[in-house]
């Protein structure tokens, strides 16, 4: 009998959710027998994240109240919601070029709370991609779109069967992915064409 048929046969007044009884619950013994480890963390007070506040500096390994400061070289952008540059920070990929200028503006001008802050950073990301593409050509290590997209996995990972053999729904939008990849080039190309046309007029 399907679930729908079961539900149809239950008189309205006996549907437990609509009575004080509520739905039946399986017994602990049955669950313990079926599921290895069932209930070993049953006590809510005895779970690692309870209580939420658990500061014990003696146990974290920290031997400082305020950490020694990491040297700042070159100047590091920071959120204006911070009073100062955090004592430790990542130094990967310092800002550079036009994308760097946009990023510096985004951090200097708008707080994390402002949509403009995030939209400027997303715009900088797209500019960075174009700069990276040009830079890769100039450096002698040009981008290889086929290799970088990992498209070979369509062959090694059985792309066709993977998409047709599952009850999946993401095929509805996966066709858009190449356009997302190509968008910075298309936009940059269109901009370059427009700029050249304007100069020639």
């Amino acid at each position: 009998m399907t679930l729908d048929e079961q539900l149809d046969r239950t008189p309205d007044a006996q549907v437990p959710t609509y009575t004080p009884a509520g739905p039946p619950r399986p017994s602990a013994d049955e669950l313990r027998a079926r599921i290895p480890g069932w209930g070993v963390d049953l006590d809510p007070a005895d779970r690692p994240s309870v209580p939420k506040l658990q500061l014990d500096p003696g146990r974290t390994g920290a031997h400082w109240d305020f950490p020694e400061r990491q040297q700042e070289e070159p100047p590091r952008e920071r959120s204006i919601e911070h009073r100062f540059l955090t004592p430790v920070f990542g130094t990967a990929q310092p800002t550079r070029g036009l994308s760097g200028a946009i990023r510096k503006l985004a951090y200097a001008r708008w707080s994390d709370a402002q949509t403009a802050h995030w939209l400027a950073l997303i715009a900088a990301d797209r500019v960075d991609v174009v700069e990276g593409f040009v830079g890769s050509i100039l450096s002698g290590h040009p981008d290889n779109l086929l290799a970088e997209t990992g498209i070979r996995a369509e062959l090694t990972g059985d792309g066709l069967r993977s998409r047709t053999g599952d009850g999946r729904t993401d095929w509805k939008h996966q066709w858009m992915d190449p356009f997302v990849v190509a968008a910075p080039w298309v936009l940059a190309g269109a901009g370059a064409v427009a700029a050249v046309r304007r100069l020639l007029r």
Partner: protein, 379 residues
């Protein structure tokens, strides 16, 4: 050294980069033995996370051998085999008491520091490389127990810990019905963890049959493929005698399928911080007065979340980036006792040099991929 680097949306490559150096007296340099690709790495890979810079090395799930330590490091020595939580944290600030360090991410106050997760989380290169800089070496990394395998250890650095934490945020009590949206690694582990906390029923929802199969075999969960139902929320009500689940766990996050408009406006057009489909299903599937635990990752922009329903149903919404290290002692017990065997969800082991194909395979869900690991020196 060899390292994965981001080149733009859907494009990465392996490059020669400078080996990281000690930049703070409490830094360590770790030679990576094993790394993983996380579902949340795909948000970076797809260009969804603001301030993801060309040249950035992803990877917040990794283990390795200590290769060098700074002058103030006391607890680690060169040669130690360590696991590193995905969070960078100082261990002493007011926020650290809440698992939310404030001393490591200058780029934002809305999120802490995370390895290899854009400059929005601090600008730290990640572990999908041969070497990685590990700040606060006396606080973050732990020695891997001798009895623990590399694969179990690397899955404790995020996926298992986050899922176990997510089940805790669900405040599960004995007999609760828990519905988990998403049958990726976090969802599967969250389903398994829910049993440990006394759940009476665990139901996992996804659209990928091979992942639902893993949810059944690994986590003993009931499963629903949402593409088989006109309205998954109505089905959830039927499944629970029209009560609704007691607890819902969102283990999907920013790229949820199930509503094309929501997916495209977020994952493709970046007009939302994330597709709220799974979160909205969670809000509507849970019973009045129920609890929702959000473990799926979302970006910092707004999303079209149905807060009206959450308010009117009197729901409790709990969420956080997982304080990973706090989970470890108990997780180690559970692994040693055989209640959890995280490495059973690993489906692919890929040399670093082929990481581009691994990302495409994971992103496009090819070849039954559930959890790919990256081996830096497989050659």
């Amino acid at each position: 050294m060899r390292a994965m680097v981001y080149r733009g949306p859907y494009r990465i490559r392996v490059e020669e980069k400078d080996r990281p150096r000690i930049e703070h007296p409490n830094d360590a340099i770790v030679k990576v033995q094993l790394a993983a690709i996380c579902g949340s790495d795909l948000h970076l890979y797809h260009g969804m996370m603001p301030d993801t810079r060309v040249g950035h090395t992803f990877g917040h799930e990794f283990i390795g051998i200590v290769d060098e330590v700074g002058s103030s490091v006391q607890s680690l020595q060169v040669g130690d085999r360590v696991m590193v939580p995905f969070n960078v944290f100082c261990g002493s600030c007011w926020f650290c008491a809440r698992g939310l360090c404030h001393n490591v991410n200058p780029n934002a106050t809305a999120v802490g520091g995370i390895y290899g997760y854009s400059h929005t989380t601090g600008g730290y290169d990640g572990g999908q490389a041969e070497y990685v800089r590990v700040p606060f070496a006396d606080v973050g990394p732990s020695l891997i127990p001798d009895w623990m395998s590399d694969e179990d250890a690397v899955l404790c650095t995020d996926a298992l810990a986050t899922a176990y934490f997510g089940a805790q945020l669900g405040e599960i009590v004995e007999g609760d019905t828990v519905v988990v949206f998403g049958a990726g690694p976090i969802g599967i582990f969250a389903a398994k963890s829910s049993w440990l906390m006394g759940a009476g029923r665990v139901i996992v929802v996804d659209h990928l049959d091979h992942r639902l199969e893993k949810a059944r075999t690994f986590a003993q969960a009931e499963t629903l493929n949402f593409t088989e139902y006109a309205d998954i929320v109505v089905e959830m009500k039927k499944q629970t005698d029209y009560l609704g689940a007691d607890v819902a766990i969102d283990a999907v996050g920013a790229e949820a399928d199930g509503n094309l408009l929501m997916h495209v406006t977020s994952a493709k057009l970046k007009l939302q911080g994330g597709s709220p489909v799974a979160l909205n299903w969670a809000i509507d599937s849970v019973r009045k007065g129920g609890t929702i635990s959000v473990m799926g990752a979302y970006g910092p922009l707004f999303s079209a979340v149905k807060f009206g329903d959450a308010l009117n149903k009197g729901l409790t919404l709990r969420m956080n980036q997982c304080p990973v290290k706090r989970q470890w002692p108990r997780l180690f017990e559970h692994i040693r006792n055989g209640y959890l065997k995280p490495s059973e969800i690993v489906t692919h082991r890929v040399p670093l040099e082929h990481i581009g194909e691994a990302y495409h395979m994971f992103s496009a869900k090819l070849d039954g991929c559930i959890k790919p690991l990256i081996v830096p020196d497989a050659a």
